[in-house]
Amino acid sequence: MHAGIIFLLVIIGSILFHIFTPWYWTDIASNWKGMDDTITLTFWVGGGVFVAVCLFMIYCVFRYQHKEGRRAEYKPEDKKLEKILTWATTLGVAALLAPGLIIWNQYVNVPKNAIEVDVMAWQWGWQYRLPGKDGKLGTTQVRNIADNNPFGINPDDPFGKDDIMVESDVINLENNRPVKILLRSVDVLHNWYVPQFRAKMDAVPGTVTFYWFEPNKVGEYEVLCAEYCGVGHYAMRGGVEVQDKADYEAWLGEQETFEQLSARYEKLNVDGNKLAKK
């Protein structure tokens, strides 16, 4: 068979695959629709260029196949054509870059009303902390981490006392309320990623990183670790439950504050000592 026909079938196959693929985005469940739209735009422009270049190539293969005695055209340069192509490409690239940068600008500027969620990662699991009534998270230090202080909150920090400790690898979020995810790691790199939210960022030990999104679909989602973090990477899962305001607040009321947790441990200690004395 002629080589050009096979190449043509490859291109047609690629287009058909794209149209009929059962593998595509999960339904989006956050405000980052702009990312999906930019991807779609890039698909149209980029896919168009890909198909055009390949079809032109295939055309040349058919049209200018070797014939004894025929001569190719001799034309080392065509300044005008090269100029047109350069500028057309520059424009196309700029058209793709612009929406990308606009959305990135939104991504790095967190809305003022976002609720902070402290996500702490370790090999291999997740823990969560929410600010208490004062709306502020207490400062933390890795060295403070202990059974009675799983987040390493500085005991002297008044903001830390009312922090809400979520003792689960599932975090509940309020629907239609922006969240600022603060990422910390106590050991190696991790990445708190929910495909339906589109957003992600690495958790880096020694620093706090962040990103934000606004969940807009009630439901349960799986959290995946998206940065290789050692042999348990693939099993490092967690969960998110997006709830309506009422459900969310009910859940929030059930959670323990740092103060309560400390008190519980103290009581355990006292009880333990009493037991030991008996």
Partner: protein, 612 residues
């Protein structure tokens, strides 16, 4: 220039290029080429079998040594990829494989393919073989250092392979070797494995520096008479620019390897912050894991172009020769190579959009990254415009070139997704990334390597590879590789993360099982198809048709050696003198459809040569 130029006029234009530097007057002799300023290089001819084939100083033998060693590592990398695909597609058959094994295979596959296979093959293999021949030199300028370069590479490969056999096995940190996990318990091979990897990389850089000096200086200083920079084949331009990149980028890898070795062995904290492991705070503090990523990608991104630029250059030459047409826009092609090379140092952090670095970097690096798309696109246009109105031989070499264009454009376009910062956010660390870089810097350069092997084999071995087998080899590889990586992008859209030993039963991932099986089967077939080439080479060496000199009717100097295959010294008694660029194909008025670089203007006086 227009076609209306009469012969005299167009020669006037040429002779301005051979101006006599001392007086500024224009020489009336159209065949005049400036005499060489230095005498001929003295060569050390081998006296024994060992000097001829083992510790050899002939760049051509060193090139073949590099080539064979790199291919050996490539076969190891291929087998590792099979094992990975077995686990991903058919985990029930991969019961022997633990997560530790899987991550070790992933890591070694990546590092081997990028550094020890592709880099060594293009620069060490093709660079050594082709540079002296193409620029008209008798050998590299420092043949002894060149020999050391190969043996340093050989030791680096030996150390790398030794890590498979040490306690704990090779490192399983991913080829990016991100700290802190790389040197901590919980990552496979965090003991001996990672140390050997770091030592091997350091040796590689040292060896490569010796080779790289040779490539650069040979191209700059040892070109034959008349071989101006703007008459060099694009292959040489690609290898030259890639070497400059390598000389600037590899030091970043070397220092990060040294710092990480210190973190590992002496508990320094270059990259290590305070870390809590198993309830204990480790003896580290204050280091920055992100610093390593900056250093790594400062090397790692130019590294992509260290592989890509030689491929760009080689494929340009192959397309031009087999389309019987001059490369379209030669000057643009040269400046695109140089421009891409320079820009490649300003885009590294596009690998780190979601690394936790200062998010404001995103604006800068997205912009630089998309700017690089412009010269890259120009190269693509010029390749297809070279085909346009050509007289294209659809042989095995050309098929690989066409395969390259398809896969490279495909992978280049997906690069625009990933480079465009906010589009990268949902796609980074997913299978989309794997599909992208395998298409653009795995399959596309591989297509060029294969095309180059079929193209230059008659020169190296003096025999023609079998075209029929070559076609089977091409079609299975191209169609197979395309059907591995094209659908893989869509796994990335679903959100399937990379470096997952197992997917479990996440709802959106179970739908990927069928595709994973398909991809794995395709990977087994594509891998196996590479043995067609090895069979073809063995068969050809035994019974193949003897190649005539210059079987493709090419113009560049490597086809005009005194013997085929070329002997030590390449060009017999007299070095060739160059009168034109290597792309004078199908010149109107010429008897043949090609004019070798060595042909003097007076011999083709009736042709309408435009560029020389």
């Amino acid at each position: 220039m227009s076609d209306e130029y009469d012969n005299n006029k167009s020669y006037q234009a040429q002779s301005s290029e051979v101006m006599d530097g001392s007086t500024g007057s224009v020489s009336p002799d159209i065949d005049y080429v400036r005499p060489s300023e230095v005498g001929e290089q003295e060569l050390y001819h081998p006296h024994s079998f060992i000097e001829k084939w083992v510790f050899c100083q002939d760049a051509k033998v060193i090139g073949v040594q590099y080539f064979l060693t790199a291919v050996f590592t490539g076969v190891v990398g291929l087998i590792l990829s099979w094992l990975m695909r077995l686990q991903l597609g058919f985990p029930e058959l991969a019961g022997f494989m633990t997560a530790e094994h899987y991550y070790q295979f992933v890591t070694m596959h990546g590092m081997i393919m990028v550094v020890y296979f592709l880099t060594a093959l293009f620069l060490g293999g093709f660079g050594n073989y082709l540079i002296p021949l193409m620029v008209g030199a008798r050998d590299m300028v420092f043949p002894y250092v060149n020999m050391l370069s190969f043996w340093m590479f050989f030791v680096a490969v030996a150390v790398l392979m030794a890590s498979f056999f040490v306690p704990g096995g090779p490192t399983g940190a991913g080829w990016t070797l991100y700290p802190p996990q790389t040197i901590l318990e919980g990552t496979p091979g965090a003991g001996m494995g990672i140390l050997l990897m770091l030592i091997s990389l350091s040796l590689f850089v040292i060896g490569f520096t010796m080779g790289g000096l040779n490539y650069m200086i040979t191209i700059l200083q040892a070109r034959t008479r008349g071989m101006t920079l703007m008459r060099m084949p694009l292959t040489v331009w690609g290898i030259f620019t890639a070497t400059v990149l390598a000389m600037l980028a590899f030091p970043a890898l070397l220092v990060s390897a040294i710092m990480m070795t210190l973190d590992k062995v002496l508990q320094t904290s270059f990259f290590m912050p305070t870390i809590l492991k198993a309830g204990e705070v480790l003896e580290y503090g204050g280091g920055s894991p992100i610093l390593f990523q900056h250093l790594f990608w400062f090397f790692g991104h130019p590294e992509v172009y260290i592989v890509a630029l030689p491929a760009f250059g080689i494929v340009s030459d192959l397309i031009s020769v087999h389309a019987r047409k001059n490369i379209f826009g030669y000057r643009m092609m040269v400046w695109a190579i140089v421009g891409i090379g320079a820009l490649s140092f300003f885009v590294w952090a596009h690998h780190m959009y979601v690394s936790g670095m200062n998010p404001w970097f995103g604006f800068f690096f997205a912009t630089t990254t998309l700017i690089i798309a412009v010269p890259t696109a120009m190269k693509v246009y010029n390749w297809i415009l070279t085909l346009w109105r050509g007289n294209i031989r659809i042989n095995v070499v050309m098929l690989w070139c066409l395969g390259f264009i398809v896969t490279f454009v495909n992978g280049g376009i997906t690069g625009i997704f990933l480079g465009n910062v906010s589009v990268d956010v949902p796609l980074s660390d997913t299978y989309f990334v794997i599909a992208h870089f395998h298409m653009v810097m795995g399959i596309a350069p591989l297509m060029v390597i294969m095309g180059a092997v079929y193209h230059w084999f008659p020169l190296v071995a003096g025999k023609m590879l079998d075209e029929g087998l070559g076609k089977w080899h091409f079609w299975i590889t191209f169609l197979g590789a395309y059907s591995i990586y094209f659908p893989m992008h869509y796994l990335g859209f679903i959100g399937v993360p990379r470096r997952y030993f197992e997917m479990y039963d996440s709802p959106y991932m179970t739908s990927a099982v069928g595709m994973n099986e398909f991809i794995s089967i395709a990977a087994f077939i594509v891998g196996a198809a590479q043995f067609i080439l090895i069979f073809n080479i063995i068969k050809t060496l035994k019974t193949g048709k003897k190649a005539e000199q210059n079987p493709w009717k090419a113009n560049s100097l490597e086809w005009y050696t005194s013997t085929v295959p070329p002997e030590h010294g390449n060009f017999g008694d007299r070095l060739p003198v160059v009168h034109r660029w290597p792309y004078d194909f199908s010149v109107p008025g010429a008897k043949e459809d090609y004019i070798p670089q060595t042909t003097a203007p007076s011999e083709v006086i009736h042709t309408k040569v435009e560029k020389t």
